[in-house]
Symmetry: C2
Subunit: 759 residues, 2 copies
């Protein structure tokens, strides 16, 4: 067990490394050549352009030494921008995202002060460990400050019990105020927004097939009949998966062509050649520029043919569409109501904003969707509890003998002692490391299979999965040493109360481990975030090999974006640690508070200067954040209960704590009812206010033209799309002539009955 | 442990008693004097009137002896009526209710046949118990047919495992088909219904207070603005709790008055007198007829004053209203959408049908509602797990010594040996018995406190609570002997897997107990149901003392109604027993199948001839029935898992069973998504079809007059209600002049923002 000294040394190392990252950042960001890596957001906004210094050297290196003196001045600058301006500059998603760090601070800072003042003296004077010292038991100074120092059955546990209540109620208060604030921010944001296509549009899925009419006609007739006063137009969705693949392939070839052209220009004597086989390793050698020019021409032809096919072929139209209404009120009504008596067809939802649509998932039928969800739920269970099995298998293969067998020519190299020891030390870890890097991608793929239709919901869903993984494998896995599988066994075989006690007992002992974890993963990790090493390297590579024009440079710039799916669950881990250790080992909390303050600063800088979000969901992720903090709170309360139960506190303390999780659950339900609908539904009153305002200010607005191209698959963007526009007479006459005969129509409308009668 | 012979004897006794009930019923129902007890439904429908036989005796006793020969002919008659006619005759609620018995038959009859054919031979040849016999262990013949007869670790357990799968899948199939059928029946019922007020009406609750406008004006303005094309009128709700109490009191006095008048008429010499004090035990003696006439006159005055006050006083108007729309489409839209950005005000829901409204709960604010739900959830927990504590306390008081202390004059009587032994045998049980009789009322009161707004939802909620109680205290309580509190302890202290094993092990041993239970509670209980002893006695009492006119006789008739809240959870217990024992002791199943067949017959007779439902909810309870059967199925699967685990079956069998609960859960979610909305929402397409039809067939319908009095509190029914009708000009002009100044209005619409800003 680490002593106070060890912790101090570790802290010093981590603070120094974080500081080194910051200094490196401060220097690198001042170099004009890196300007596009550290300030891409301003370029995208058109507020900054490539520096045009007179001196040749000055274009790459900053020679103004005075600026180096003020190398930390980005910190106050990051805090200076007021929140409303930040929302306008970076979007509500980003502004609310950094409020999660602020929320962590709001919850934990007062708790830190309070527990340090109240519990540390109580623990310090407990004297259990000092007595134990005589029995030659080792203990660290940290433990003297923790609950472990309280003798079994002491009355002092009442202090911890009361603090558990105080912490929970303070968390309730902060969570409630924050939920209220975010809900208001979202409503204000939606209200203040100018006209946007998604305000008028509803995503309709599972359009039932009709033998007499095409999908487009069927949709038009259905909405003309059932929303006669409000229906405006609709946009069918084409199955453009193949086309998108072709476009992507063409873009990649284009890059290679530019690369070889640049290479040839710089060294005209040596015409670049490539091999045509797999990865350029085999096959006949041809001229690279000619080869790629040919390939691109071929692909362009294919692409045109495919585009033609997708637009003309009725089979390429998926049974889903974006239906637009004349008013926001009409769209709000359609999105919130059930259309058909069969709730699995004519599903209507708010359309995500055009950038946010995940096009591939729009056409999954109901039954398939439920099967997919079931399979992914089972898959997630196995991923969480059995992920070590394939990794152990790979590890058992990837040893020295295995490599020697597969690649015998490497034998002399590997057999060298230094290389051997490096491989042996390195290989076992690498499979796990690769898995952890790939994990978010696996989870995202699983979410995609589950069939969500917008990028924002995909991210939220992946975050949920990742949170579970972290909870089981990082938190519980560190506390109860052993794999998740062993924990599962223990959980089933041990009594429920016993399991809580086991965890409760081992939590105080892991405090020093988590302190180190926070410093390495938290402090140094966040400091590395601001340095942007990977984008820096990639930008310079692209800049050297691919950039010809200013436009190319624009494209080489990778501003990146806040990845909610991977970073939010990690914040949740820190909040969980804070809540768990608040009562148990208060000295851990300052480390977490430092992490939150530091992260807040850095991410505020990043969203101002760097990140460019791919879409704007209006902070619709907040209910998830709120729920996960509640989950953390309940876990903390159960652990406190188990610990107090195991520590032999008064018999009466544990029942006193049972009320807390119940209250927390009630608080969750209360907040859900009070606020969640602001993130899910769109009230009619708001819609009516905006409609009325718009009608008064812009009476002659042609909404149809405005909405015409809003929901077109990105691969069609720019190209002329010859989709037959709905005939105008029809939509002015709600009772459109249908192509179906009346007999068929009546059969159709009662087929549900018939089917169930005959069954 | 009971042997096969014991069971046969018990069965014979119960069959005989059931038969005796049936014979008594067959004789009693043929007597004209009982006609109104056994055929009240036909009287209420106006299809039957009091028998007018010429002979005086013939009016009371049936003298046609031929009819006694055919005393069982009500059975085929009960089955004869086809289902569509039954729905029209008794309503969809009743018709679907008896389908629960049919569903029990559909699930369990094939399972019974299959398990008897497959598992009984497997168990019979198991021979474990025969070997055990040599060791002087007792066992019953029943056990030789059960899973207990299979030796530990035998391969034969695979048969039980496969049967568990077969039973589950068969249950899925039947449940799915039934849910589909009921959903179709409901939709057809709603579609075929003629015009009803609730189709056009939405219940609006939590109308926010407004300083400038009355509740009525505020509602009208809000809906004129936000549903300009659809709003028709609204009906405010008056707080008539006091008034209803007065009316009830007056009715009771009226009854007493009639009673004493009748008494006086029969015996004019003896003028009836009463004492005015508590329960007529103390106080001065006065003339009864004069006294009640005076009291009624006084109450009438009070009632008029109160009615006046309620109608005029703006404080007597609660912040809730029934808002009617011009079309079903408009009502469907308003019921399904969120009106205001604060989701706790302007709550809209489908209005229950007028008879179904529970008037007292319409005005509970959101925060109070959540608090009430929390308290009732905690209360239910204590009721289920700690109900024995107060009963044991009462029992400890209500012993011989206690009675002697409180009522010393009874001492000589009690001290007699016979009396003493009766009291000692009788008293301890009576507290529990009273509790069990009162329990449904307690649960209903708890549901009322939770704030549901319709009688049907109150019944559904009470049924849910009662189901939990039966599950824990009857099923688990019988299997794991001991109180629920002890089980709770065991559940917390024992490992989760161990708990399932404990239950699994004791389930086979309880088979004979449950067989007896089914015969006593099920067979004899249902046979007693058809005899209607309590209504029979009460009717004859009322007929003797209170009836003067034919109309009085009409009122004395108590047709009763199907009490969903108490009887559905008991059906669920039988289905649960069937599912649990299907694999374990198949010989139990025929008893349950007999119960379901018998009940189906009797209740079909009762709903045709007796019961008169208080309201019609369109079978909206079906999702609850479905869910509870799923819960039963999962419990059965877990018990099978525990039993196979404990019986030392192959290690591989238990993991094979884990898939079943997961599949069941998925099946539940699938069905919920597929069908539940038919019971909760009203699709716009259906609404539009009905609207269009109506517009075509009745173009001149004055909907406003039709809806005017639909939603008036029952105490105002009949009396002229002078509520100011909304001014006509206003509703033709959606943009009504508001009384508020524009400054106030803008403050109002943004006050949520302001509050959270300032906080």
């Amino acid at each position: 067990m680490a002593t106070l000294q060890d912790i101090c040394v570790a802290a010093a190392i981590n603070i120094l490394s974080a500081f080194a990252f910051l200094v490196a950042f401060a220097i690198l960001r001042l170099q004009p050549v890196n300007d596009r890596v550290y300030f891409p957001k301003w370029y995208l906004k058109g507020l900054r352009s490539s520096p045009k210094s007179s001196a040749a050297l000055g274009r790459f290196v900053n020679l103004d030494f005075k600026m180096y003196m003020r190398f930390l001045n980005w910190m106050p600058a990051a805090l200076k921008m007021p929140e409303p301006e930040l929302i306008e500059h970076a979007g509500l998603d980003s502004a609310v995202y950094i409020r999660i760090y602020l929320l962590g601070l709001k919850i934990l800072f007062p708790i830190t002060i309070l527990t340090l003042v109240v519990l540390v003296p109580v623990n310090w004077t407990g004297k259990t460990l000092e007595l134990a010292q005589f029995k030659n038991l080792t203990f660290s100074n940290i433990d003297k400050l923790s609950i472990s120092n309280i003798p079994t059955g002491s009355k002092r546990f009442w202090a911890h019990l009361v603090m558990s209540y105080v912490c929970s109620f303070w968390t309730f208060y902060v969570l409630y105020m924050e939920y209220k604030k975010i809900a208001t921010m979202r409503l204000e944001f939606l209200a203040s927004e100018c006209r946007r296509p998604d305000q008028f549009t509803v995503l309709v899925r599972n359009v039932p097939p009709d033998s007499d009419e095409s999908v487009s006609e069927h949709i038009e007739h259905f909405f003309c009949v059932n929303h006669p006063d409000h229906y405006l137009s609709h946009q069918v969705v084409h199955n453009a998966v193949e086309l998108a693949k072709l476009v992507e392939k063409k873009n990649s070839f284009q890059n290679w062509l530019v690369y070889y052209q640049n290479k040839y220009e710089r060294n005209p004597l040596n015409k670049p050649t490539i091999k045509t086989g797999f990865w350029g390793l085999w096959g006949s050698r041809v001229d690279a520029i000619d080869h790629y020019t040919d390939e691109i021409a071929k692909l362009s032809e294919e692409e045109d043919a495919e585009r033609e096919r997708v637009i003309i072929d009725p089979k390429a139209i998926v049974p889903a569409a974006f239906v637009s209404f004349k008013t926001r009120w009409g769209a709000a009504v359609c999105a919130q109501t059930q259309q058909s008596k069969d709730p699995t067809i004519w599903l209507t939802d708010w359309a995500p904003e055009p950038r946010d649509v995940f096009w591939d998932n729009l056409a999954i039928p109901y039954f398939e969707l439920t099967i997919r969800r079931l399979l992914m739920a089972v898959g997630l269970f196995f991923l969480i509890f059995f992920f070590m099995i394939p990794i152990a298998f790979v590890q058992s293969l990837a040893n020295i003998e295995g490599i020697e067998k597969v690649l015998p020519f490497l034998k002399p190299l590997i057999e060298k002692k230094v290389v051997k020891s490096v491989i042996q030390g390195f290989l076992p870890g690498i499979a796990l490391k690769i898995f952890l890097i790939v994990l978010p991608k696996i989870l995202m793929t699983m979410s995609k299979i589950e069939g969500f239709t917008s990028l924002s919901s995909l991210e939220r869903r992946s975050a949920q999965k990742y949170h579970l993984f972290i909870l089981v494998n990082v938190f519980l896995g560190s506390v109860v040493t052993g794999t998740a599988l062993q924990q599962l066994h223990q959980f089933i075989d041990a009594p429920a109360g016993e399991f809580a006690k086991t965890i409760g007992m081992s939590v105080p002992m892991k405090a020093t481990f988590f302190i180190t974890y926070i410093m390495v993963d938290g402090w140094a990790g966040i400091a590395a975030e601001i340095l942007r090493m990977v984008p820096l390297v990639i930008f310079h590579l692209k800049n050297t090999f691919l950039v010809k024009t200013e436009q190319d440079r624009e494209q080489a710039m990778d501003p990146g974006f806040l990845s909610f799916a991977t970073s939010e669950p990690r914040i949740q881990l820190y909040i969980l640690l804070g809540l768990v250790y608040s009562v148990i080992t208060p000295v851990l909390l300052p480390f977490i508070v430092a992490f939150f303050a530091f992260s807040f600063l850095i991410f505020r800088h990043q969203i101002i200067n760097v990140y460019d979000q791919k879409y704007e969901s209006g902070a619709s992720f907040w209910p998830d954040v709120h729920r996960r903090i509640i989950i953390g709170l309940i876990i903390a309360q159960i652990i406190h209960m188990g610990l107090l139960g195991a520590s032999g506190a008064d018999k009466s303390t544990t029942p006193c704590l049972i009320a807390l999780p119940i209250l927390t659950l009630w608080f969750y339900i209360f907040c859900k009812g009070r606020f969640e609908s602001a993130f899910v539904r769109f009230p009619l009153q708001e819609a009516m206010v905006k409609d009325t305002l718009e009608r008064a200010t812009e009476p002659n607005l042609n909404l149809k033209t405005y909405l015409q191209d809003a929901y077109i698959h990105p691969v069609f963007k720019g190209s002329k799309l010859d989709i037959p526009v709905a005939i105008d007479e029809e939509e002015n006459n709600p009772l459109v002539p249908t192509k179906r005969t009346s007999r068929q129509s009546s059969i159709h409308s009662f087929d549900v009955h018939d089917k169930s009668h005959s069954s």
